[in-house]
Symmetry: D2
Subunit: 214 residues, 4 copies
Amino acid sequence: MDTFNKLAELFRQFPGIGPRQAKRFVFFLLSKDREYLEELQELIANLKDHIVQCGECFRFFQRRNDALFCSICADPNRDTSELMVVAKDTDLEAMEKSNMYQGKYFVLGGTRALVERKHADKLRIQELTDRVSRSVTPSVIPAKAGIQREPLREIILALSANPDGEHTTDELKTLLTHFSIKISTLGRGLSTGSELEYADKETLKSALKNRSES
Amino acid sequence: MDTFNKLAELFRQFPGIGPRQAKRFVFFLLSKDREYLEELQELIANLKDHIVQCGECFRFFQRRNDALFCSICADPNRDTSELMVVAKDTDLEAMEKSNMYQGKYFVLGGTRALVERKHADKLRIQELTDRVSRSVTPSVIPAKAGIQREPLREIILALSANPDGEHTTDELKTLLTHFSIKISTLGRGLSTGSELEYADKETLKSALKNRSES
Amino acid sequence: MDTFNKLAELFRQFPGIGPRQAKRFVFFLLSKDREYLEELQELIANLKDHIVQCGECFRFFQRRNDALFCSICADPNRDTSELMVVAKDTDLEAMEKSNMYQGKYFVLGGTRALVERKHADKLRIQELTDRVSRSVTPSVIPAKAGIQREPLREIILALSANPDGEHTTDELKTLLTHFSIKISTLGRGLSTGSELEYADKETLKSALKNRSES
Amino acid sequence: MDTFNKLAELFRQFPGIGPRQAKRFVFFLLSKDREYLEELQELIANLKDHIVQCGECFRFFQRRNDALFCSICADPNRDTSELMVVAKDTDLEAMEKSNMYQGKYFVLGGTRALVERKHADKLRIQELTDRVSRSVTPSVIPAKAGIQREPLREIILALSANPDGEHTTDELKTLLTHFSIKISTLGRGLSTGSELEYADKETLKSALKNRSES
């Protein structure tokens, strides 16, 4: 196979890209000057050296000064008594952008598909139990001796409100139950833009249960 | 204007119907036999005699034996201490289908548009305050003497989670505040199918606040 | 079944209308005043008396003075040497609007589905052969004695460029071949908005064959 | 700006890619193993050395043995009397896949936007007139002495049937008129899937004009 088709094949693996758009990507690159191509190539070459996974929460972050932990995990002002489990980096980003949460995170690495014969996914189940184990008792941050961390008091399972998310939530609950820590899930209800007429039973039930006095 | 175009004009007023589909409706009717046309014509002719608005909640219902009230309003087993205000009949239907609510309803007749110079809409504001006034004190159902109704203790404003719905909710709160009754709104949060990554700030905030221990 | 659901059932048969929109139609009618409902009902009641099928081309037209033929068939200035066979009234309307054709029409009443066990459709096959038979020899218009009609010299099969249209075209060719009249089909090629990149083989082939010198 | 956002910025320039998908591309790359990344990086690095533009028709092709011309331009069996001008490589590919054309090509490099103040585009106008000039008289292929090429007798302007395509076609006609060669454009008509009812006037006009006897 020639260069064109080899490159198109690689682009086809990009999320959401079909064969036609993969080819358009190659033609696009052919139309760009060498400067653009060199920058692209270099960024891809250095990607895994520059962006690494946090040793604590497993999100990706730009490494600076050989830091092992991301800015959130290294931040002494974040509340260590709460741990929010999200499926992926972009979920964490959305939550951070909302500016509503001050606790810590754990990036699970995906959700477990409801229908799947074997666990082909690579969820960080062991890493999660390790993370929780380390946090259930008060501790002193090694790096900054003297500052005491609050022990973990609540795990918030923040998976999406779809079948895979709910299935994963159920598995995690079972897994984490022996820690005797409060485990909570995100509230269900009407999301922004929801119309009553089209809401399903589960949503209406939660909306009614979670109704708030004004 | 000829019959064809007159009829197409009327169909164009149907919700969601453009000029092309309005014409297709006329051609469709031309293709049907006289039996179908007669049934359609007769049902339309009798519509307003057969389907009337409930004198209590203003939903439409099939009149039987000159009943003035719909089956929900006439049902002595529904909880009279809760009144849910919905924008339209289909919202009420969705809530009934969910089987989660045992109280009474009030159909407001729409929502108030956020941007609107004058109140051209026909919301049943006066009817709502009358309805609430009648229900704040314990009463005896006239038709079934002896059965005591619970006084109204909570008004649930169940408008959609969009700008018009929220605007209407705010207006109703102001309007109803002097009754000194608990006023609540449906809970916000992740609705079924919501993905964290795409959720807006308001939804995430509510989802976090309404999180439930499992 | 009650009035509401009976009427919704009838609306569900309208082209392109699902159960939810059918219900919305009923709620819409309930919201309209009696004047609108009466006009709608009356137009439906009189529809088949006011709009009839042309005895010559079978298109629908508003009957005036007990006319048996539509304005096109009655027009002495239209070219009787050309007969365009279209599937339905709206196709004829599109062609008339283009202002490109001066001949006569025949509305077939649909196309024949490529996969269909028996001929459940009601194509006007017999009526078409009758129509052609009557026109192959010069004749005198009975109603306007003295005006001689041109004999039919070309039948243009103007079906859509999709499988059903092509299948029907093939059937009609076979059917009409013994008349020894020129039979033509609409030209294929790039239609307005077509992009070369996405054009299929058949379209490109025709576009190449039908290329025009400028 | 950090590596992540720099790379996302470059992906945003890819055709059809918005900011969100650009980010997903970076996360996707972070999830892939080094092997994939190295292959991708290497293919991009070598792209412009391996894939070059044909010196004759300007399409991109995989260079082999320092060939200056693509396989079509180098093919002695292609008809040199016809030259098809297409906007871009993918148009040429679509035409080749249809297997209907045996002549030569010229890739213009785009179309000229109808509304554009200055000619910021890089259409190969000069290259096209050079190409035509060289071909109007019979010549001998230098590389394969003795084989006589047919002189150019027809230029087929194969631009898309949209405003920009038509505008470009008009410009090219004016530009090429002094060569006194036949200039043709692709045939217009019903493209595959076209329905008569929705066809515009221009398409119906061409479909009628280009109708073919069967």
